[in-house]
């Protein structure tokens, strides 16, 4: 390896492309394929190695009304479940598009080589999941995300006109006259700088789950895309809506937060408190363990608060009434995960679980049809966006979100690129300023440790924006975020100032983005004075019907971050009646 540039070296390489895709999870890969197949030159940047993005961890499956197990399923039923699960805060048009197009996207993925578990008649099998009226999740064991990402990854690298830049992180987006023109990035391997010039940019950077301490999210989920979009003039929305997945591992301490798939409950797992009571009977007797995630997470939290939790502060999740063979076949990675990391054999005894941060319903505000932001040429798809999931996401809707909107937004970005001749050029003072900011920590060997600031941020988000929130806590959190933001202006790398794969430097960059996400979270959570979906306020314990169609929108004003309530477009009558329709109850056959 060549020695990297030194801390002061501001030289950069320039890369020109039609569509720049930032992020290589499901949405980025599907978007890149769509853009490439539309005839554009595409450059995909991934923060990690290709195929390692957070999508790879998705376990349970992808929701689509294929009707292979329950013939009575329909896009209407899927749409109604999604809207009700999101407490009607969803962008109805996104939910409609998603429910209608998800089956085609799943079948298309199969035609590209993805392998799914099968029904007896040989069709794609579908498993039941929380708050889905019918068994709807196409899956392969409990590794569906891996299957999705590997299929798309392989499809992508065999397309023409596609370059993949691995382990490259974007530090800044540039716009000129209201249009996106490019991005500044650094390469982890040698610390070299890259200036991308593009005619369209597709943001697919995922969520910001790492601003919390106990999280199911990967290293790279630091909310980069939301922060980049915000800084270049786009709007964010619903940032108060952070999903706690009901079942993360709690014990041992070292594995706290690692996800336990909802597939365990889908396959018949039951939740009990320390007294052996199946407590979901008291919270949702109709749907029990397969209630929506916000309800189950709050239920477990309530049991623990009431002193009925397990020794390590969780609940028991038990699937051991199923045969060992069945468990190992349907939940192979859960079996392995508990055996190896907790020394628990889930075919013989229960798992201990508690809520863990899982998903950002909020994010960049986009046009429902095309994923366009209010910055010309800047598009977004997947978890980085907001709208589809409203106040609470249903399990399985994320993977089909990536496919449905990845394709649409990739096509829209390509169309934009093809319509707009040559890529504009970022203004050089802006580039120089962004480079100075990026190299800053390397020039401050005595600066504060980015690891310490990051840990403080994670602790304060966990403490002041927990599953149940209130005004004093949120205000305290916001003021502490401001303090941290101030300290972060002089953050160092922890000491060493080399450019070659220096994680201290990388952490300082991530911190910047995490702080923007945290501020948006606290400000939006203070603004929403009600409890709805994932956002629960002990000082406003009930939903306020007047806020049902109000989105809190975050944007950068002259005085810093502003939050504004903006009314959503009313749901058309035809769709209202689809939501209110009564759907035939499904009685499962014994599947084992």
């Amino acid at each position: 390896m060549e020695p990297g540039p030194d801390a002061m070296d501001t030289a950069y390489e320039t890369v020109e492309t039609d569509v720049l895709v930032i992020g290589a999870g499901g949405a980025g890969l599907r978007g890149a394929i769509a853009a490439a197949e539309s005839g554009c030159r595409v450059t995909v940047i991934c923060k990690s190695l290709l195929g390692k993005a957070h999508t790879v961890m998705a376990e349970g499956g992808m929701a689509a009304a294929l009707g292979n197990v329950a013939g009575q399923d329909s896009w209407e039923a899927h749409f109604a479940d999604t809207m009700k699960g999101g407490k009607l805060l969803n962008n109805w048009r996104m939910a409609e598009i998603h429910a209608q197009e998800a089956p085609d996207r799943v079948l298309e993925l199969e035609r590209w080589g993805a392998v799914f578990d099968r029904t007896h008649s040989g069709l794609i099998h579908q498993r039941p999941f929380g708050a889905h009226t019918y068994p709807r999740l196409a899956h392969i064991g409990d590794r569906t995300g891996l299957e999705l990402i590997r299929t798309l990854q392989d499809r992508l690298v065999h397309r023409q006109n596609v370059d993949v830049h691995m382990e490259v992180t974007v530090a800044r987006l540039f716009a000129s006259a209201g249009r996106i023109v490019g991005a500044l990035a650094y390469r982890r391997a040698d610390g070299g700088l890259l200036l991308y010039r593009a005619r369209a940019v597709l943001l697919a950077t995922g969520g910001a789950g790492r601003i919390y301490r106990v999280t199911s999210n990967s290293w790279e989920c630091t909310g980069d895309g939301t922060a980049l979009a915000y800084e270049v003039g786009a709007e964010l929305q619903d940032c108060e809506m952070v999903q706690f997945h009901p079942t993360g591992m709690v014990w041992p301490a070292g594995v706290r937060g690692i996800l336990v798939t909802e597939g365990v409950r889908g396959e018949g797992g039951v939740l009990r408190n320390k007294d052996g009571e199946r407590f979901m009977e008291r919270y949702d007797p109709e749907r029990m363990e397969l209630s929506s995630r916000d309800v189950v997470a709050r239920a477990i939290n309530s049991e623990v608060v009431a002193g009925r939790g397990t020794d390590h502060g969780g609940a028991y999740l038990d699937i051991s009434h199923k045969s060992p063979d069945y468990i190992r076949r349907k939940l192979p990675s859960m079996y392995e995960q508990f055996l190896k990391l907790a020394r628990v054999d889930i075919t013989k005894g229960p798992m201990e679980v508690a809520p863990t941060i899982h998903y950002y319903m909020g994010g960049v505000r986009v046009d429902p049809e095309t994923g366009a932001t209010r910055v010309g040429g800047l598009f977004a798809a997947g978890e980085v966006t907001s709208g589809l999931h409203g106040a609470n996401r249903l399990g399985g809707n994320s993977l089909t979100d990536l496919l449905v909107f990845g394709k649409r937004v990739g096509e829209a970005a390509a169309a934009h690129a093809l319509q707009h001749g040559k890529a504009g050029a970022p203004r050089s003072p802006e580039v120089a300023e962004a480079i100075a900011c990026l190299l800053g920590p390397l020039q401050r060997p005595e600066g504060e440790s980015p690891y310490r600031l990051q840990a403080e941020l994670q602790d304060l988000c966990s403490k002041y924006a927990p599953i149940i929130r209130d005004k004093p806590g949120l205000e305290e959190g916001l003021s502490r975020v401001a303090d941290l933001a101030e300290r972060s202006r002089t953050v160092g790398t922890g000491g060493p100032t080399g450019r070659v794969f220096n994680p201290g430097w990388h952490t300082a960059q991530d911190l910047r983005n995490m702080l923007v996400n945290a501020e948006a979270l606290f400000r939006s959570a203070l603004a929403r004075k009600e409890s709805r979906g994932a956002h629960t306020r002990s000082d406003y314990p009930n939903p306020d019907p007047s806020l049902a169609t109000l989105n809190y929108v975050v944007s950068e004003g002259t005085e810093g971050m502003t939050v504004q309530g903006i009314g959503a477009e009313p749901i058309p009558d035809g769709l209202v009646s689809i939501i209110n329709r009564s759907y035939e109850k499904y009685t499962p056959e014994e599947t084992e």
């Binding site: 190695l49 080589g113 794609i124």
Partner: protein
């Protein structure tokens, strides 16, 4: 956080290709800690520029492959209490070193581009009905699809590690990849010429080391490489011709 009385002695390779040394760190132990936790603790508290690749910390992404006490493993799937005494962590030896525990694995991604993608036969491509496949047929490839691309099998393969023959053999990971395509119920392409040629399936001498280190417990040699060798032999080795050749040699000699 539970801190045990005796801290862990962790020794980590620090350095770049031409120079480097093992550096010892003393790390407090907590319940359920894995080696990755220990490395990250050292990074956050003692060695801010300690380079290590990681992502999911749940054994699903395959980023944190390294050699723990000489054995290729995922750092996130190696509980500290599996080891008595000091733990040493070194980068994978088969790939060029970038820094500390991070190696340049880009060769693997180049290899994948050379394997023709999934290609169903014409009739299936244009079939307007959803495909039907039986679970038993799917089960055959599910094992191969479990691969998380940690490249530990590549790291331990003699052909790549000891003989450096990246020019001649794609390695166990890509034998698994090709098996997953060749045995896919709906794939119609014949990759046997590639297997015999550039992919170099013949280079594997079935020591099964790759199989032993696979964190996903894929039977790489038994279920992927040996069947691929058999398929290739079926296509290129004609026993009658071989026999006549041998008889011909004998009568000539």
């Amino acid at each position: 956080m539970t801190v045990s009385i005796s801290p862990l002695k962790l020794s980590v390779f620090r350095g770049e290709a031409d120079r480097g040394e093992m550096v010892a760190y003393s790390v407090p132990v907590r319940e359920g800690m894995v080696v990755l936790d220990a490395v990250l603790w050292a990074q956050a508290n003692l060695a801010p520029d300690l380079a290590v690749r990681w992502n999911c910390k749940a054994a699903k992404c395959g980023s944190c492959a390294a050699e723990v006490n000489g054995f290729p493993r995922l750092l996130c799937k190696s509980p500290v209490d599996d080891y008595a005494g000091e733990i040493s962590v070194r980068p994978m030896a088969a790939f060029p070193l970038i820094r500390d525990l991070v190696t340049d694995v880009s060769w693997n991604y180049e290899v994948n581009k050379r394997i023709p993608e999934f290609t169903p036969p014409e009739a299936d491509q244009h079939d307007p009905e959803p495909w039907r496949m039986q679970q038993v047929d799917v089960d055959r490839v599910i094992e191969f699809r479990k691969c998380i691309e940690c490249f530990l099998c590549q790291d331990v393969c003699h052909v790549l590690r000891n003989h450096g023959r990246t020019d001649a053999y794609f390695g166990p990971r890509f034998m698994v990849r090709m098996a997953s395509l060749e045995m896919h119920p709906k794939d119609g392409l014949d990759r046997r010429p590639l297997l015999k040629g550039d992919a170099g399936v013949g280079f594997c001498n079935i020591t099964k080391c790759c199989q032993e280190v696979c964190p996903e417990h894929i039977h790489i040699t038994d279920n992927a490489i040996i069947p691929l060798k058999e398929r290739t032999a079926d296509a290129y080795f004609d026993p009658i011709r071989a026999l006549t050749r041998r008889l011909g040699r004998r009568s000539a000699g």
